[in-house]
Symmetry: C2
Subunit: 73 residues, 2 copies
DNA sequence: TTTAAATTCTGACTATAGTCTTCAAGGATA
DNA sequence: TATCCTTGAAGACTATAGTCAGAATTTAAA
C-alpha cells in the first residue's frame, strides 16, 4: 500500500487542482518554495503540522479535513 | 497568543496524562525518544504528520481530533 | 527528611524538512 | 516551427525534526 507521504501528495494535488491554481501560485500563497510543493505532491517529503496549516489555509480547507482524509484509505 | 507548537504541547500533555502514562512510556509506545516527547510538550518542537500519526495511535485518539483541537483556541 | 521516579536541561549529534538555482521535458497555443 | 506555461529534476545548501547520553532538577511517596 501507499505510504503516508504518497497519500498526502495525492490529496494535496487534488485539492490544488480543484482550486485551479499552479504549484507556483500555491507556493506563493503559503510562503513555501515551488519545488517543495512538487516534492510534497510526489510523496518525497512530509510536512510538519505548521506547514500543513499554511497549505490548508491557502487551499481554503480545514487542516483536520486533510488529516481525516489521510485516516481513511 | 500561544504558538502552534505550544498549543500542540498542551494538548499532547493533557492526552498523555489522561492516559495515565509517563513520557518515557509514551515514547516507547510510539518509538520516539523520551527527551523529544519532553520537547514537544514544552512547545520546543513541532512534529511531522508521520510523527503525529504515531503519537495519536499510542494515545488512542484519531490524529484529526488533535488537529481539530488545534484549529479552535 | 530521604529516596526513587519523572521530567527538564545541556550539548553534541544524525536525519530530513524546506530553500534556491538552474535546466530539461511536456503540453498548449500560435 | 517557435514560444509560453507548468512541472520535474539535480544538486548544493540551511533550518529544524528527532536521537542519544548523562547530569540536574522537580515531584511524589516512604
Amino acid at each position: 500500500m501507499k505510504s503516508l507521504e504518497e497519500r498526502f501528495g495525492e490529496i494535496l494535488r487534488n485539492l490544488r487542482e480543484k482550486n485551479g491554481i499552479t504549484q507556483e501560485a500555491l507556493a506563493a500563497d503559503c510562503d513555501l518554495d515551488r519545488t517543495y510543493i512538487s516534492l510534497l505532491e510526489r510523496g518525497l517529503r512530509q510536512p510538519t503540522i505548521g506547514t500543513l496549516f499554511k497549505i490548508a489555509e491557502a487551499l481554503k480547507v480545514p487542516p483536520s479535513k486533510i488529516i481525516k482524509e489521510l485516516e481513511s484509505n
